[in-house]
């Protein structure tokens, strides 16, 4: 597969390490009253869709950036590639 890196352009997916659902960015707050349930959901439950999937890839053999790749799990087509840090900020993860 080819991942179109936001800065480096098309790069072979073999240069990347895969982690999984990009929802892993949305780590719950440990302080909330339902933290235990929220962390269980965060750590273990997945939509695992047959279709478009936002997922985390690490450019291990490249610039060491974590990317959020929007990819179709049926066709493997990739429609969007973003820096995970940008996605994280958009999700309100700035300190």
């Amino acid at each position: 597969m080819i991942i179109d890196h936001p800065l480096l352009g098309p790069r072979d997916s073999a240069e990347f390490t895969y982690m999984g659902d990009a929802r892993l960015i949305e780590r719950p707050s440990p302080d909330s009253p339902d933290a235990a349930a929220a962390f269980y959901d965060y750590a273990y439950l997945r939509d695992n869709p047959a279709g478009w999937h936002r997922e985390l890839w690490f450019h291990e053999a490249g610039d060491r950036s974590w990317l959020v790749v929007t990819r179709n799990t049926v066709t493997h087509e990739i429609s969007k590639v973003e820096f995970a840090s940008d996605v994280a900020r958009a999700k309100g993860r700035s300190k």
Partner: protein, 184 residues
């Protein structure tokens, strides 16, 4: 002055196979610079003062005596002659202050210079860098024999420089030699 004598990563003689010459270059001091949060401007100014320009994404600035290339967003590798810049990291830190994190990298890498007409053929069986499409000053991080390396296309048309992990200098050199032999 200390009296410890450094040794090159491999200490191997320059070898010519067909048109290709493979030479270990032990004379490069390296340090990485990573801009601190909110200090990118200062960092860029300092880099410009040293290199003449800030290396753009996927590019090297082949400047003298210091040269540099882009590693990641806000992060660059700076190289300079070891003879004059053994303390390159300290020199950079002095200029950058707390605008950047500076890390000495001289010990992390082995440097090979590869020249010759068949260099592109050799690259094609070594790594996924699109060598024939790369121009002078283009840099790509890529895998060679499973090792993460930087491939830098130098000024001369038939010259590339490869930075590979120093601990695997022997395996990398072996891969270079077999590839050169295969295309010779």
């Amino acid at each position: 002055m200390h009296d410890l004598i450094p040794i090159p990563a491999l200490g191997v003689a320059t070898q010519t196979i067909g048109t290709i010459t493979i030479a270990e270059n032990a004379g490069v001091a390296l340090a990485s610079v990573a801009a601190r949060r909110g200090r990118a401007d200062i960092c860029a100014d300092v880099l410009t003062s040293i290199l003449g320009a800030v290396p753009d994404v996927g590019k090297a600035v082949l400047h003298d005596p210091e040269a540099g290339f882009w590693m990641a967003a806000g992060q660059w590798m700076i190289g300079a002659p070891m003879d004059t810049h053994e303390d390159l990291a300290d020199q950079l830190k002095a200029k950058l202050g707390d605008a950047a994190s500076v890390t000495e990298q001289s010990g992390g890498w082995v440097v090979f210079d590869i020249t010759g007409a068949a260099m592109p053929d050799m690259c094609e069986i070594l790594c996924n860098a699109p060598i024939r499409r790369m121009a002078a000053g283009d840099v790509q991080r890529t895998m060679i024999h499973q090792l993460g390396c930087f491939v830098i296309r130098r000024a001369a048309d038939d010259h590339i420089r490869i930075l590979g992990p120093r601990a695997s200098a022997g395996s990398l050199h072996h891969a270079l030699i077999t590839a050169a032999t295969a295309v010779a």
